[in-house]
Symmetry: C2
Subunit: 513 residues, 2 copies
C-alpha cells in the first residue's frame, strides 16, 4: 500500500467521505487511489477558491469535515480566501495539499513556494508528512484536529514521494476531543445578571448557539427573564423561520449598529466575541457596544455553548415555553425588485428545510424581517469578509445536506470571484437556486467611500462600477452549464423562483436591482 | 495632504503610472486620491489574480513596475498565485495592499488576516507603513526595491489610518541601484570553455539574455565558437521571429528534456539557473543535464547578463555577423487543428511586433518551430507554473506595450482560473486576441498520471475532465463583453484570426482541439 492509499483509507476510517479537489501532478497518486478505494465522493472544482469554499459549506451542514485536495503552494494560495472564511466560521476542514517530493524541494523547481507558510495564516493545525509510514496517522490526526471545538482548518501537506512510496499504514479514527465546558462561575455570573434583570440585558449568540437547540434555550431564557437576544453580525449557520426564535444580527454599518446596541448595559456573550466594527473609520467607534456596558462571558467560542445555555436555563428555572410564532408566512412581493419585495418572495416560496447561502452583501441587509416567518431553514453567512464565498459555500452545502434545497443569495460583484462554482453545480446536478443581485457596482464600497469621508470623482466611481461592459449573467451561467433567466419585476421573480425551486439541479435567476 | 495622496504622488515621481486595482474599504482614500491627482491610469480587475497577473505582464513589456491595489490579507491571498509567477519571472511589481487601521487590527475584526505573512512568500521586500509621514518614502523605497536586478515583488502594506491621516510627505524617486557585474573570473572561465570548443558546449540563456540585444550577442558567440544556444524552460520574455536567433527551450517532459540536453559536456549559464525538472517522478532524473557535465556561471540571474555576454564576445573576438535568417515565413495551416497547423497559422498571420502571452500548456509544446520565421515578436511564458497566468498577463502586456497586438495562446483549463480578465480587456478596449485551446480536459495531468506510474480509472479520469458539462467559450466571452467565435478547421481559424488581428479591441477564438 502506498502513502496515498493509506491516506484515503484513513480519511474514510475517520468519517471523511467527500473530497473537493483541484489536483495537479503531485496529487496524482491520491487521485489514482480514489479509483481503487470505494467510498470517497470526489468533486472537481475548476478553481481552488471553489474547492475550499465548498469544503466550508459542506461541513457547516454535514457537521463533519470534507477533505480538500490542492496542488502545491500556489494552488493553496488560490484557496486561502475561502479558508479564511472557514477559519472565521470555525468550520472543520481537512485541507490536503500535495507538494514537491521531499528530495526535490531543495532544488527549488518553479512551482515551489512556501506552502507551510501560506497554510499557517488560516490553519489551526499544520503538518507535513515526511515519511510514508506516518501518512495514515497524520490523516487521522488532521481529522481529529479539524474537529476540535469549535472547529478549525487542519492542513496536511503531502510531498509527492510520501504519496507514491510503498509502506503506507492505515490509521483508525482518533477519538473526538471533548469540548471544554464553561466554568461554573461563568454560568453563575450570567445567571446573576439575568436574575437582576432590568433594562439593557442582552444575550449575544454565536456559533452553535444559533442552531435549533441553542435558540430554543435562548428563547426559554428570554421568555423567563425578559432579556434581549441578538446574534453576531456574520454566522456560520443559523436556524431560522417558523418555530425558531427570530433574532437580529448586529448590523454591518457602524451607525446602524450603534443604534442597534444602544441601551445595552449588560452584555452576555454565548459562543460569540464582543462585537467590533468590520473596519475602523475616522472618528467612529470601534465597537457598537456602549463603552459603559458590562461584558460577561457565558461561553467562549471554544466552550460548549449549548450545554452552558442549558445550565443557565436550569439555574434560572426557566419554564418550558411554546415554540415562537413569527407571524404569518409572507406573500410574494410585487412591483419593483426592492430588497423588501425580494425577501417577501423568498419568505413565501422557500421550501421547508431550505439552506440559504447568503452573500447578498449590501442588497440583502434587510432580508431577515421578511423571512423570519418562512418555513424552517438554515441561513449561512460568509463569515470572514473575504468575498467570493457564496457560490462555493452553496455548492458544498448542497452536498453536505442532500435532499435539501439550497438558495444562494448572491451579490454580482462577489459572485465574480468564484463563478466557476456554477460548473461544479452543473456537473454534480446539485439542487441549488442562485439569485444574483445585479446592481452592476460594488455598492458596498460606495457606502464605504462616504464612511471614510472620501469624496468620489470619476476615477473613484469607475473603480466601483461593474458596468461598461455589463455582465450578462444568463449567458455566463449558460456557458458553464447552468440554466438561467432574468426577472425585471417581483412578479416575474416569483414565477421563475417557484419554477427553479421545483426543478432538480441548479438554476440561476438574475435580478437587475 | 493625506497619506494616500502622498502615496500616489510618490509613485508618480518614481515613474509608476499604471495601477491595477481591486480595492476595498481600506483603500478608499487611495481611490479618492486618484481623482484629485492626474497621471495614474487605474485599471479595475474583478478578481485579484487578474490584478497581479496584469501587473506581471505590464512590467515585462514596459520594463518598469505597475502598482497593484489589493484589499487586506484575503485580497492579497487571491493574488498570490500570479505574484508567485511574477517572482519566478523576476518581474518588478509594486504590490500595494491596504489593511486594517493600525489601532483596529488588535481587535481582530473578521477580515483581519496575516497580510505580512502571506506577502513574504512572494516578495523580495515587504514593509508596512505605520506612520503617515513615512508613506511617501516607503512608496519610493518600494519602487527602488522592485527594480533591484533582476526585478522582484515589493509589497507595501498600508493600514487605512496611515492613508487617511494628514501629514503625508511626497518622496522623490530613489536612484536605481546598480546591477552587479559578472566577476572577471566568470567571463574568463566561460571564454576558456568556448575557446576550447569541441562537442557539447551549451550556452543556456535566461532573463534579459533572451531580449533582442542578448540574443544578438549569443548569435555572434555561437557563430564564432560553434556552441549550441538554448533557453530556459519558461521565460519572462523572449525576442523571437525573423532576425532573431531561434533558440529552443528546455522541454517540460523529463524524457524529452533528457534527450534535448543529451551530449552536453560544458554548460554555461547566462542569466539562467541549472535546469531542474518541474516535478520529481519515481525513478527519473531531477535534472535533464547529464550528471558529468561541467557547469559554468557566466552571469547569475541578478548580475548584468547582457554586459557579461558583451564582454564574453569581446574576449572571444567574435566578429559581427548578419542577423539570423530563420527561413521563410510559414503559410497558414490547413485541415485539422493540429498543434503544427495552429502554429503555422500563427506564424503566417502574427503582425510585426506582436506580443505572445503563452499559457498553451500541453497543446503548445511544439509551437516554436513554426513561429521562428514569423514577424519579429516577443514571447511571454507563465514562469512559475501557477496556472491562470495567461489571460491576466495578456491584459497587462497590452497596457505595457501600447500599439502592439497581444495574442494570448491559452489552454482552457488554465483560462478558467482567471477568466474575469476578459472583462477588463473589454472595458479597457485592449487589442488582445485570445486563442482558446479547448481540449476539455487537464491534458497535462493525463501525461503526469502516466509519468508518476499511476493507472487511471473512472474516478481519476473524471478529475482530469472539463467536459460534462462542456464549457461554451464563445458564450462565456460574450457574457463578459468580449466578442468570440469558434473555428473547427485550420482554414476557418486562419479566417477568424486574420479578422481578429485587424479589429481593434479584444476578441476570442475557441478552437476545439
Amino acid at each position: 500500500m502506498n502513502g496515498a492509499e493509506s491516506l484515503v483509507h484513513s480519511l474514510l476510517h475517520s468519517g471523511v467521505t467527500t473530497c473537493f479537489a483541484n489536483p495537479g501532478t503531485s496529487e496524482m497518486h491520491f487521485v489514482a487511489a480514489l479509483d481503487r478505494i470505494p467510498g470517497m465522493h470526489c468533486v472537481l472544482g475548476l478553481f481552488e477558491g471553489v474547492v475550499t469554499g465548498a469544503a466550508d459549506g459542506y461541513a457547516r451542514m454535514a457537521e463533519k469535515p470534507a477533505a480538500t485536495l490542492l496542488h502545491c503552494g500556489p494552488g493553496l494560495a488560490n484557496g486561502l480566501a475561502n479558508l479564511h472564511n472557514a477559519r472565521r466560521a470555525a468550520t472543520p476542514v481537512v485541507n490536503v495539499v500535495g507538494d514537491q517530493a521531499t528530495y526535490h524541494r531543495p532544488l527549488d523547481p518553479p512551482l515551489t513556494a512556501d506552502t507551510d507558510g501560506f497554510a499557517r495564516g488560516v490553519s489551526g493545525w499544520v503538518r507535513t508528512s515526511m515519511d510514508v509510514r506516518s501518512v495514515g496517522a497524520d490523516a487521522a490526526a488532521a481529522v481529529q484536529a479539524a474537529m476540535i471545538a469549535p472547529g478549525q482548518v487542519a492542513t496536511l501537506i503531502l510531498p509527492s514521494d510520501t504519496s507514491w512510496n510503498e509502506g503506507g499504514v492505515v490509521a483508525e479514527a482518533l477519538p473526538r476531543l471533548p469540548t471544554p465546558l464553561s466554568a461554573p462561575g461563568q454560568v453563575d455570573a450570567a445567571a446573576a445578571v439575568l436574575r437582576r434583570g432590568g433594562q439593557g440585558v442582552v444575550l449575544l449568540l454565536g456559533g452553535v448557539a444559533l442552531h435549533a437547540e441553542g435558540l430554543a434555550l435562548a428563547h426559554r431564557i428570554a421568555a423567563a427573564t425578559g432579556c434581549r437576544v441578538v446574534a453576531q453580525g456574520s454566522n456560520a449557520r443559523m436556524a431560522r423561520g417558523q418555530g425558531r426564535l427570530a433574532v437580529e444580527r448586529v448590523p454591518y454599518v457602524v451607525d446602524v449598529a450603534v443604534q442597534f446596541m444602544q441601551g445595552t448595559r449588560q452584555l452576555i456573550l454565548a459562543g460569540a466575541r464582543k462585537p467590533v466594527t468590520f473596519f475602523a473609520y475616522p472618528g467612529k467607534v470601534q465597537s457598537a457596544v456602549p463603552e459603559d456596558a458590562a461584558v460577561h462571558v457565558l461561553a467562549r467560542p471554544e466552550q460548549d455553548v449549548v450545554e452552558a445555555l442549558a445550565r443557565l436555563a436550569d439555574a434560572l428555572d426557566c419554564p418550558k415555553v411554546a415554540a415562537p410564532h413569527n407571524g404569518e408566512r409572507p406573500h410574494a412581493g410585487s412591483g419593483a425588485l426592492t430588497p423588501e419585495a425580494v425577501a417577501a418572495t423568498l419568505g413565501a416560496l422557500m421550501p421547508d428545510g431550505a439552506v440559504i447561502a447568503d452573500e447578498s452583501v449590501s442588497f440583502g441587509r434587510g432580508f431577515f424581517a421578511n423571512t423570519k416567518a418562512a418555513a424552517p431553514h438554515d441561513w449561512l453567512n460568509v463569515t470572514g469578509g473575504a468575498i467570493g464565498g457564496g457560490m462555493p459555500m452553496a455548492t458544498g452545502a448542497a452536498l453536505g445536506a442532500p435532499g435539501r434545497r439550497v438558495i444562494n443569495l448572491q451579490a454580482d460583484g462577489s459572485a465574480l470571484y468564484t463563478v466557476q462554482a456554477l460548473w461544479t453545480q452543473a456537473r454534480e446536478k446539485l439542487d441549488i437556486t442562485t439569485v444574483i443581485f445585479a446592481n452592476r457596482k460594488y455598492q458596498i464600497l460606495l457606502g464605504e467611500l462616504a464612511n471614510v469621508g472620501a469624496n468620489p470623482g470619476r476615477t473613484a466611481l469607475d473603480m466601483m462600477d461593474l458596468g461598461n461592459p455589463d455582465i450578462d449573467w444568463t449567458r455566463l451561467a449558460g456557458s458553464l452549464g447552468v440554466e438561467a433567466a432574468r426577472a425585471d419585476t417581483a412578479e416575474r421573480f416569483a414565477d421563475i423562483l417557484a419554477h427553479a425551486l421545483r426543478r432538480p439541479g441548479p438554476f440561476l435567476v438574475e435580478l437587475p436591482v
